[in-house]
């Protein structure tokens, strides 16, 4: 299982889908073509603000060489409250719609919410294309991007309120400033899903 990174200390974060679509333009610059590779996934660029070295120590697993890391996607501004026990409703779903159940009835899942599905011990992050309100029986049909890229099994765990993105981080380390009370400089890392 991946190493969980702490929350907080984030100055900025930016999600992007990777790989980018294969776009080509004619030599005249007047025509364009594009195709998308199935299996696109998310990459997050995260900037951390300056922090005390003791706080920075909590992030030291960022450059761990043995395990993937899992970073909590900060989306408190979009959703809060109890999600219930969301699970995938039916195995082998493909395309851009994922049916889930076990969710708190009436919960509103806003557009652009990130969710994570845990299959085979690995998280797969998706983003909601449109808002959805959970039904009275706790079911919902989520419209996702990118399209589903793994065979999720029935009753796989879904993280709605506090999803984590899991992957290997690219991180150059903290710069500690002894003459400023060992405060670290602002830094950044990138975490890309495993696939």
């Amino acid at each position: 299982m991946p190493i969980d990174l702490p929350s907080g200390c984030v100055a900025e974060w930016q999600p992007s889908l990777t790989p980018a679509p294969n776009r080509s333009r004619s030599a005249f610059g007047t025509n364009a073509q594009s195709y998308v590779r199935a299996g696109r996934h998310w990459s997050f660029s995260v900037s951390l603000h300056a922090m005390a070295s003791a706080k920075a120590a909590e992030w030291s697993e960022l450059d761990d060489e043995s395990e993937a890391v899992a970073w909590p996607i900060p989306q408190d501004h979009l959703i809060s409250g109890s999600e219930g026990a969301p699970r995938v409703a039916g195995g082998g779903q493909l395309g851009s719609t994922l049916n889930i159940d076990g969710v708190t009835a009436g919960l509103i899942l806003p557009k652009d919410l990130f969710i994570a599905v845990i299959t085979g011990g690995q998280r797969y992050v998706y983003r909601l294309k449109s808002a959805v309100t959970v039904s009275g029986t706790g079911t919902a049909a989520l419209s996702l991007r990118p399209i589903i890229r793994a065979v999720h099994a029935d009753n796989d765990v879904v993280e709605l309120v506090s999803p984590r993105v899991e992957g290997f981080a690219r991180f150059t380390g903290f710069v500690t400033q002894p003459r400023r009370g060992n405060l670290t400089k602002p830094t950044s890392f990138t975490i890309e899903e495993l696939g």
Partner: protein
Amino acid sequence: MDALLIADWQRANPHAFIALELALTAKTLRLTSGGVAVFGGETYGPKDDDYGVLSAVGSITDGLDGVASAPDITLMVKTDAALAALSADQGAFWTLYWGSVSPSTGAVVGTPETLSSGYINTITPTFAAGARPVVIKSYTDEQRMLLRDASKGWSAAHHRSVWSGEAGFDELPGVKDKVYWRANEPN
């Protein structure tokens, strides 16, 4: 090429995949370049716990005389056991497909195009910074068709093997071969 697939390529943003089917002794490996594709009653996934992921497919060249396509296939193998199994499976048959999926349903559009097929010849593990790719060199039926051997040919010996006692070719050493498409000029 499948008409539905052609129509899909003409859309604004088709979702493309490459799929590899490799019939090993231990298991039939079915990998995609990314995502999940279900066709021919089989499910192709993005990775295998032992054999890893499909990393690269060499260029598939065609059209020159005497040249047959035999693309290299590169896997990022995860376990040593899988590497050993691959190298012990010389002659295992593989097929490469090129297709697209519908982004709304995830269903494969029409029938994926069969790009190439062949057999494992040699396995070459290589070691590089941050990667351990395994290159599969192959031979293909196309190459076999271009082989020049003594079994069948425009020769007196082969002619006699088909029509025993028919000596018509014995005195014709200089019969001019027709040069078929992709065959070399006779020496």
